[in-house]
């Protein structure tokens, strides 16, 4: 009697389990199909977004940028920026850990290794609080600093973690670029 009860219970648990696994599998399959369809468009959009950021940093439509083949470990990417034949500087992409995940930052640096601007490409910070790191009066503080300058960057009150993350990101970017320019790159 007890055994029979146990058996029906087991069957029920098994059925429920199979149902959930099957449901998850079907949804995962459909999502991966959708991913194949949308992948190209998404990367195209992201590429355009990056280009817009670089154009805004260097203030010129005619700039070109190439990804450097060797990237220091601490940063995501370094792009060498040129306009026609002349070298304009570098863009360093870093993604420090913010309050709500990684903050994707592009740091524009001129030929003398000082910052010409900082752009936030994407972030998941709290809207209205951490998201204020996108404000110009915060980001403009970074202009003209170099890896050697000891200028203090004011954090935004209420957004301490996010603003510190950006500051840290810019510092990392500058020292990684220094490292690269001095030729002492750690190749991974």
């Amino acid at each position: 009697m007890v055994d029979a009860n146990k058996k029906t219970k087991l069957i029920e648990v098994g059925r429920t389990g199979i149902f959930l696994v099957a449901l998850c599998a079907i949804i995962a399959l459909l999502l991966s199909l959708l991913n194949i369809v949308t992948r190209d468009r998404i990367s195209e959009n992201e590429e355009r977004n990056l280009r817009d950021a670089v154009v805004a940093l260097f203030g010129s439509e005619n700039i070109e940028y190439v990804l450097l083949e060797v990237t220091p470990e601490a940063v995501d990417a370094i792009y060498k920026v040129t306009e026609g034949e002349t070298a304009r500087g570098y863009c360093v992409r870093v993604s420090p850990e913010g309050f709500g995940g990684k903050i994707d930052i592009l740091v524009g640096v001129d030929n003398s290794s000082s910052v010409i601007g900082v752009r936030i490409i994407s972030h998941n910070e709290t809207p209205r609080l951490g998201s204020r790191i996108e404000n110009n009066h915060f980001l403009s503080q970074f202009i003209a600093i170099t890896s050697k300058s000891e200028k203090n960057i004011d954090v935004i009150s209420g957004s301490t973690v996010s603003s510190r993350a950006v500051t840290e990101g810019v510092r990392t970017a500058l020292s990684a670029l220094d490292e690269y320019l001095l030729g002492g790159v750690v190749i991974e």
Partner: protein, 214 residues
């Protein structure tokens, strides 16, 4: 004819009589957070409505197969799958909107309007009525978002859809772009809606009394 009437009643129910945001006070997190501009509100409303309709249809289709013990898990799996799909589609077709809504797109998955619709309506009703319920609840949510965002954008930044309304001399009341302004605006709108509802009820009651007397 009766079917048509049912459709209109259901729509009216979602938008006015039983508005998910202004009457039931569900889904307040996005309603308070993203209503700083009208374009955000429209984008969020449309995205939520689309997810709501699809989840209601799917759950209604599956309602005979979903084991009741794990029904909430099932709803959450289906809803989060749909939201992931919506996120991918938004990233590929409305990239600017996606960047401005940011974190709130994945958070559609935990909007309680959707889970509530799934549990109390779609799992008990036929596919078409469930779809209409999704549409009407989604529209109700969108209407509420639009109402809040118009007031907040107009007073907080002096613009509508990015176009300046009051001219350059207007000094915006920054309070309205902050969270406190969101609560104030939503609270006032909800109060006005309640007042209108009670006024209507009173009218109907006094009408009934007069008829009795006659």
């Amino acid at each position: 004819m009766s079917k048509n009437n049912g459709f209109i009643t259901q729509l009216k129910n979602g938008i006015f009589d039983n508005n998910p945001t202004l009457i039931q006070l569900l889904g307040l997190c996005p309603a308070l957070a993203i209503t700083t501009s009208l374009s955000n509100a429209i984008g969020m409303g449309v995205a939520t409505t689309a997810v709501l309709i699809c989840s209601n249809i799917l759950i209604s289709l599956l309602r005979k197969f979903i084991p009741s013990k794990v029904r909430i898990y099932t709803f959450v799996i289906i809803i989060s799958g749909l939201v992931t799909a919506a996120e991918m589609l938004m990233k590929s077709f409305f990239f600017d909107l996606y960047t401005s809504l940011g974190l709130f797109v994945p958070l559609i998955a935990v909007n309680c309007i959707i889970l509530e619709g799934a549990d109390s309506f779609a799992s008990k009703n036929k596919v078409i009525t469930s779809a209409i319920d999704g549409l009407s609840m989604g529209l109700g949510f969108t209407v509420a978002l639009i109402a809040v965002s118009i007031i907040r954008e107009l007073l907080g930044t002096g613009t509508i859809l990015g176009f300046s309304v009051f001219g350059a001399s207007y000094r915006p009341a920054i309070l309205f772009t902050l969270p406190a302004g969101a609560f104030l605006t939503l609270g006032l709108i909800a109060a006005v809606v309640q007042k209108a509802r009670y006024a209507k009820e009173d009218r109907e009651k006094s009408k009934g009394r007069e008829e009795e007397r006659v």
